[in-house]
Symmetry: C2
DNA sequence: CTAGCTCAGTTGGTTAGAGCAGCTGACTCT
DNA sequence: AGAGTCAGCTGCTCTAACCAACTGAGCTAG
């Protein structure tokens, strides 16, 4: 029955063709509109908020959510952390998920990345090299590299899903495992990926991505838990 | 603060190493444990339920959820439906997401699917052929084909994610678009995928999967909205 | 006249207490 | 011994009140 309330609020959004950011009725209005108590309205909104369908701003109102992959990140992260603590190799599975998707995509990308993005990737790798010399590559830089790379796919959904995977992986790794990367290797592998993509050499790019993930996996396996 | 309550309940699960299905404290117990009102406890639980972290059974108790991808399906479905109604090509993006991932994976699978799974795939395709002759291929059969195929990857997370994508796509397509498939073509393409995988011919398998998705995409584009 | 402050009104956040509804298991009656 | 019943847990919904964050109109000081 609480489920029913959620569905009806969803219908409000869909039937009203409401875009992200559009304002929804206030809680008292929803009470009357749906014929239920404020409490039930709030519980439904909380659930929808958790799914990213709705955004609630205290003292301001309720709005249609950004429909991002944020809830998925949240769920994936928790699932992975919980699995890890129970002794499963959940973090490795998550890494393999990323590897499978990214190696599958890189061939599509080879030779098709716009010049502007290639230039941005050059800058990102350069920053990576600077950071490596200064101690270690920042996570944000790695993220930027992959995000820029996947932009060439021209599929926002796909980019967001990949970023969600990256994010979940990174959060779990940061929380659970002390990984000591070899910055020099990391930089070199990114350079290789970029070079292969620029040359339009699909197989070489695929190999480069696989090497990159092999590297991460190896470091993951050989590192102790915190 | 509501966020804080959710986090503390999560900690209960993680710190307690609770497996899926383990029972959580009752609402009154959580009230006292967390020092908040019943209402706040319930709102937090509702949000966690929406994320699949917790499972609530009326008159029975609250339990650690199955950590499945069900919430992701829910979110993806809604996002796609909402986008579709706003005139975006969200369904096509979802299809491309599936295509990208599945074409990337099929090469890994070629020649590595266990004999038992191959036999099951034979049976599934046979059923598909029977159904095609009887009017049309059942959605469940298509789902079974892909699910069995990906089982060979031996990565539960990956299988679930793919199934989630399949599910979201199928639900949206069923709700929104009347697609008239050519059953004969569908069956033939699945046979080709299976044959290529059995032979361990990666490139051929990749081509077969791509053809399959091309077929779906073409039908999608040429079909009117309901 | 304008810049800044204040305060009232609106919106979501939280609490409290009461009663309803589904499920389980032990008790009772046949 | 078996089936029906009921007491007790559980979560579900409602009402009513107050707290907290934000907005915007109006006031005050410069």
């Amino acid at each position: 029955m609480a489920r029913d309330i959620q569905e009806r609020i969803k219908r409000l959004i869909i039937d009203g063709r409401l875009p992200s950011g559009a304002s929804l009725p206030t809680e008292p209005e929803l009470m009357e509109l749906l014929g239920v108590s404020r409490n039930s309205v709030r519980e439904a909104l909380k659930a929808l908020q958790a799914m990213g369908i709705v955004e609630i701003r205290h003292g301001f109102g309720t709005y249609v959510g950004p429909m991002s992959m944020a809830p998925m990140i949240e769920g994936l992260t928790f699932r992975t952390v919980a699995g890890h603590y129970r002794g499963e190799d959940s973090l490795l599975q998550l890494l393999e998920l990323r590897e499978a998707v990214e190696t599958g995509l890189i061939a599509r990308l080879a030779g098709r990345v716009p010049a502007a993005d290639l230039a941005e990737l050059d800058a990102t790798v350069a920053r990576m090299r600077t950071e490596a010399a200064a101690g270690g590559v920042q996570a944000e830089t790695d993220r930027a590299f992959h995000a820029t790379l996947h932009r060439g796919l021209e599929n926002l959904l796909l980019s967001e899903v990949l970023e969600a995977f990256w994010d979940a992986f990174h959060r779990v790794r940061t929380d659970l495992v002390a990984v000591h990367a070899d910055p020099e290797t990391t930089v070199r592998q990114h350079e290789e990926i970029l070079a292969a993509v620029r040359d339009g050499d699909g197989p070489r790019a695929e190999r480069a991505v696989r090497d990159h993930f092999d590297n991460i996996r190896h470091r993951l396996r050989s590192s102790g838990e915190r």
